[in-house]
């Protein structure tokens, strides 16, 4: 899968005084893939993105794109473009002028830069609002303008810093579909920072889970969700039980836990109806176990808090954790 056009981090470290924000991270971002950097706040994912963009200097290591070390280049010369969390649209410029800003800085004449900007606005379906000021747009529209502004520089890698966090939940799902479609059409690498695992699972060709300044696990969305390597990943991705059996730690998907008469005896603590599933929390001794039971199955034999149940699962579904 490696090609000469990949983006590669080579032993990248970022220190702020005595604290380490990113510790010796090495990773290859395959060309043309949609990558999500996932992790809790303060894990170093945003810093990593900003180092790739060139808005943060790197303390050690290098960043390689297209076979060139870009770690000392200015942001605009790296072949990357960044879409900011708050979109950072220039409030005094119209939508068209915002998109055309980078071309204006390069000294492209007005007609040519407006043509290029209109092309980008068409790509994000914003042509009809080209004369508006950013303050006159909704959050979703601003997001599209920010996207067009980043894409007008024809970047090789688009960096998105929590692009959906300012949108309401319904819009978020629609916009993430648009992002994915756009990435597929353009065929460039998208690196998308998020702390939402559902967002990462829905979008990413590759999910990179970060914690405590290092990459905890990287792989396809399915790999990371189905085979978490560490307890942190299992807990952060959600939908997993981390169980201590005979001194070894295992991850067990909540939807693999069945409620039977036999099996591990436990007491129901909570029942939560979630539509397709019912989430049953049960205590087996000191161990809390979450079971996601298909709705129909649950209501064949409904349980209430305080009821005794047996928990069972196929031993083959236990997934051993390394840490």
């Amino acid at each position: 899968m490696r090609s000469g056009q990949d983006l590669e981090l080579v032993h990248v470290t970022k220190r702020y005084g005595g604290t380490v924000a990113v510790r010796d991270v090495s990773h290859v971002f395959a060309n043309g893939s949609y990558v999500c950097l996932l992790g809790p706040s303060g894990c170093g994912k945003s810093t990593t993105l900003r180092m790739i963009a060139g808005h943060e200097s790197i303390s050690e290591g290098s960043i390689v794109l297209d076979g060139h070390d870009v770690s000392r280049l200015e942001p605009a010369r790296r072949g990357t473009a960044m879409m900011f969390q708050s979109y950072a649209l220039f409030p005094h410029l119209s939508v068209r002028d915002n998109v055309a800003f980078s071309l204006r800085m390069k000294g492209v004449d007005k007609a040519a830069r407006h043509r290029a900007a209109d092309e980008m606005l068409e790509l994000v379906d914003m042509t009809h609002l080209a004369e508006r000021l950013p303050a006159q747009l909704s959050g979703g529209q601003q997001q599209r303008v920010a996207l067009a502004r980043a894409l007008v520089t024809k970047p090789r890698v688009l960096l998105l810093d929590e692009p959906l966090s300012a949108l309401d939940p319904f819009l978020r799902i629609r916009v993430r579909g648009e992002l994915k479609r756009l990435q597929r059409e353009l065929g460039i690498t998208f690196i998308h920072v998020t702390h939402g695992q559902d967002e990462a699972l829905a979008l990413a060709d590759e999910v990179v889970v970060m914690n405590d300044a290092v990459i905890e696990q990287a792989g396809t969305a399915r790999e990371v969700f189905a085979a978490p390597r560490t307890e942190f990943v299992a807990r952060f991705m959600g939908g997993h039980n981390v169980m201590d059996l005979d001194g070894t730690r295992f991850a067990l998907r909540a939807d693999d836990v069945r409620l039977d008469e036999a099996g591990l005896p436990a007491v129901v603590r909570g029942v939560e109806y979630q539509g397709a599933h019912v989430a049953v929390t049960a205590m087996a001794g000191a161990q809390e176990v979450l079971a996601l039971v298909p709705e129909a199955r649950f209501f064949e034999n409904p349980k209430n808090p305080g009821d005794a149940v047996g928990l069972s699962w196929d031993a083959s579904r236990l997934h051993r954790l390394t840490a």
Binding site: E74, A76, M82, F90, H92, K106, R149
Partner: protein, 286 residues
């Protein structure tokens, strides 16, 4: 007590204190000045009868035009210099000083000269700029000039220098205030889009500072247009502006004539501000 419950009455009562204050201390004095400006005066008496004589004289005299022009020139030069210095200082404080405590400390440092009175700050230039003052002694000892420079004091130079010294802070404060509100990610976004530091300044920061610049401009322009004491002290009474015209009339007890000049000055300043406000919307700053 029932009447107080009526929301119209309550509203009027709440607005009344400010209305009374403004009526007594703003509307009434201006109305008086306007009225008096249509009166006449001799050396020993004031004639309270309507007459346009003051205005006829004012608009008929070539002195008025020259003095107004000089006043505008002072205002413009002071404005240009305070803007250049004020913007630079504010930019340094807002964008180059990273820690907030240092920003506050340096900002307070800028205000220290304001702990003494205008007059003292003005007069302290005199021994510095005088014929045998510190500046001239220094220039001679460095060999820059052979004999004392005459235009340092009691000239337009010293007047404008004093104005700039007195009023630059009025430019710094509003511009600094606007700059602090600029989202730092905009600067990063400009940088990401390939703008150089200079281009970011011209295309992003300067346009976003316009409201602050406008507020500072209004302060400086109104202060300079209405001033008479700085011009008198720093020009050694050799230069005139509208303020001095008024103060001369007052010292000669020509109140109606002074009032007429004041009315014309007031209208001129209001007109200037109205024109300035056409360019920039400062409402979002208030």
């Amino acid at each position: 007590m029932q009447i107080l419950k009526n929301r119209h009455v309550a509203g009027w009562l709440q607005a009344a204190p400010l209305t009374l204050v403004l009526a007594a201390f703003l509307v009434l004095p201006i109305a008086t000045i306007v009225t008096v400006s249509f009166w006449q005066a001799t050396e020993f008496s004031i004639i309270p009868a309507f007459s346009l004589e003051n205005y006829r004289f004012l608009f008929g005299s070539s002195v008025t035009g020259r003095v107004f022009l000089a006043t505008f020139r002072y205002a413009f030069l002071t404005w240009a210099l305070t803007l250049a210095i004020g913007f630079t200082v504010a930019y340094y404080l807002a964008f180059h000083v990273r820690s907030q405590s240092w920003q506050i400390a340096l900002f307070l440092l800028c205000t220290i000269p304001f702990w003494t009175s205008n007059i003292i700050r003005m007069i302290s230039w005199i021994p510095f700029l005088g014929r045998n003052g510190i500046a001239n002694q220094m220039l001679i000892s460095w060999g820059v000039v052979d004999e004392p420079v005459e235009w340092l004091l009691y000239s337009d130079f010293s007047v404008i220098l004093a104005f700039v010294h007195l009023y630059t802070l009025f430019m710094v404060v509003p511009i600094f205030n606007t700059m602090m509100r600029i989202d730092r990610s905009l600067v990063e976004a400009a940088y990401d889009n390939g703008a150089s530091g200079w281009q970011t300044l011209i295309h992003v920061i300067l346009p976003l500072c316009k409201p602050g610049i406008m507020i500072g401009t209004i302060f400086v322009v109104t202060l300079v247009m209405g001033d008479f004491i700085t011009v008198r002290f720093m020009s050694g009474s050799q230069r005139a502006n509208v303020g001095r015209l008024i103060s001369n009339d007052i010292s000669l007890l020509q109140y109606p004539s002074a009032a007429a000049t004041a009315v014309v000055l007031l209208c001129t300043v209001l007109l200037t501000i109205a024109i300035l406000l056409r360019f920039v919307d400062i409402r979002k700053e208030l």
